[in-house]
Symmetry: D3
Subunit: 183 residues, 6 copies
């Protein structure tokens, strides 16, 4: 097992890098790692709502979909207008020398293609992960999430994703513990 | 799909709660969500190193193993000496009303039992996730990781986990990009 | 004087640990030490408003009422539903070997019993300390303090505490310097 | 009770203002409120080590000794070379209109004079509070505390203060929980 | 070139010191260095809007106008009521032993006098720099900027400054990239 | 003056975006705005050491050299291996519609070409700005700056830059105020 520690240290960098979109939103903060956790958990949930999907692939795809960002950086919407990212090269360097890791490259490729059911759900999870943050900030009084949310909703492609979105937008971020609170 | 947004908002709280051990370490910082991401990725890697394991269960277990901590809090070693945590009750409330989510409870139970191969690997991943942080901090000059690392190593139970530990401890945290750096 | 440095280093940990309720509030931040300072100052004020109380005991009680939290952690409302805290054991370990420190244990015990005038005032100060933070955040536009405040008000037991609450809720957090501001 | 909420809101500002010395130290961070808590707790301990002192006055003095800093700011050693602070004026405005609060002014005056036993102990506590932070940072590998500590030690005037200093400097910051740690 | 590194290290301290006004505003954060950058860029712009001014002097003045604050600290409105700052002494020590640096002293003096066209524009830039932050925070939902803005507007003295203010107040902070955003 | 507020709000974004290299260094933090301030001040100093240069151009160049990074993002060494940045397009959009702002584009172009004396000095200032941060962190005990510094030194092209580097590396970051400190 050579270079495997390099892979582990490279992927842990995602904890040290923040998603740059929040600077433009003007509220909130989230590391790439936190975003990936959230996306993977959403996929875990989706796998239970759609028993026919390949759960392992769906969750794994969510887990690794931004794995190359330690090398490429997290580029937000504006940054993407001015940068051409060579993600395949980054992924190739990420897994270099680790024969079993070719799977990471395949999962990222499938995610980017967005054609399979798993890829569509994972892409929706990617958006729903952001939606949860926007809803929380909106509930707390921040003004910018209001204008960002419609765009996020519009990006959803699956019925499962859209249904989850309706549920999220119709629930306060702290209801899970405030509902029925009394002293 | 009722209460599902509650579940999603509850689990996203893991991004807002820091692991309390770092205050005692005196260096570094990590949210529970970041730790879970790291643990899940380690399990993704382990699943490729041990093709015989149930990859979906292993990765899912890592993903949800601390899911109850939004309700229980993250208690470090010292805190645990003075608190009795009713995790089953927290898990029960976490999944209440979501019939498909019983799986979360089973995964957490299996993780805590630590008997199956998947549970042993996931528990090792839990430790290796911390080890990656300690190694990084140690490489950067912090003095406390040195005394914590032996305890972390001793908790490992699987050969895969122990081998990964040797690799991690023998690699600098930034080697993945500094190796062969030149201008 | 043995173990006394241990006690001092243990209590200074309260600066490194944040009160977890703010993560659930979604706004603000405060260390346990800051909370204790605020509570103690409120008691200093209360001692002047009620000359008949034992000022030394009142202020000291506020100072040490959360001293065990370096060991137990700061558990918010939700965390408390799932944890049983053995505070007496934590306090016992805190003061172990320091004969003069038995007073800390007695003060915490009296505070928790909430029966004496001093204990009732100190408990109200504990709430008013939070109220000051909620009022500040509410004045700044955060939406969540609004729903938390009525519960805090309801917990007050003394007339002094209730009167201070009315004053706090009727004053803007920055009035002390903005009142009469001109250029 | 008029203007009392103003006083409470003014003093809570000490949580929002950091002690500027740490920027010059290059490590650590502490709000004025945290420092005052620490100083007051040290005085609580000193009162038990020297039963003859006026405990209420000693602890109260520590609690309010920096109360004027919301108005004056926290000026570190360098800043003080270039600023003349009118603390009496700030204290006067702090307590304006609150007849019972004249005590705050007296306590600050006595602290600054440094003549009474209580004032000497409180001034030593002020230094020991910083010493605890420097010792922690030194134990963690920071290089600057080493050069600051001798100056802090030299400022101590009481035997009690000097003895506490010896204890602090001879104890690791995390010994209170690491001593005897095993798994 | 002796003492020149001292000067460079002293001025870089402005990155480590925050402007204290934001603690009183209750929102936002900015280092002195960030403020100086912003002020200098505004002067760069003003120099293009008023071709007759001495651009080098204007921009340089903005760059160094707070250079003495590593020594004096950044005192906000309230702090200034209770402190007498000896800025000339601080500036003298800043440039001590560097014959070519007398220019820094002259620029700061001219800025403080506020008589020349460059000084008036630089002083307006100083205010507009704050205005940009207040407008951003106001757009994001913070309530306090609303009451601060009129005072900032009133301090402007030049037509160029007032025109820039009108433009700033009539533009959303994120319009530069949200204008015409579509997917 | 249309779109001018857009330009001002766009450039102020540099305060909200951190330089990503520090995540890879593992120590320190700096916004792009802080870096630009530092670079501009270094150029102010260089202009006095080399009276023959066009001071206005030199300082302005430093001020705007990263102005496009609100749009492109700050890409560190690793990120640059996987991204192709279209800076001219970003600069063009930055100044769009502002006839007088063509100067910004020219300055950035000249800086990137690195041919004129001013451009060479500004590029050295860009490196010296980082060097000051690395030296501070190294003095404080961080281990990674040691390996980064040689690369930074090697990038310097001018005698003035190299002389300043020698001075910086031979001076402790806090000497400017600790030199001759006594009580």
């Amino acid at each position: 097992m050579t270079r495997i520690a390099d892979l582990l240290f490279e992927v842990r960098m995602l904890k040290d890098l923040n998603r740059t979109g929040y600077a433009f939103l003007g509220a909130g903060e989230e590391s790439i790692a936190e975003h990936c956790f959230s996306t993977a958990f959403l996929c875990f949930v989706m796998a239970r709502l759609e028993p026919g999907v390949d759960a392992e692939k769906l969750i794994s795809m969510a887990l690794v979909h931004d794995a190359a960002e330690a090398r490429t950086g997290d580029l937000n919407y504006v940054h993407k207008q001015y940068n051409t990212v060579d993600e395949p090269h980054a992924v190739s360097d990420l897994i270099h020398g680790l024969e079993w890791a070719k799977n990471i490259s395949e999962l990222i490729e499938e995610f980017n293609q967005g054609e399979t059911r798993e890829a569509q759900l994972a892409n929706d999870a990617d958006q729903l992960s952001l939606m949860l943050e926007l809803k929380k900030l909106k509930d707390l009084g921040a003004t910018s999430p209001e204008s960002w949310l419609p765009f996020v909703v519009d990006r959803l492609r699956t019925d499962t994703g859209k249904q989850l979105a309706r549920e999220i937008l119709g629930t306060r971020w702290d209801e899970w513990w405030t509902r029925g609170y009394s002293e």
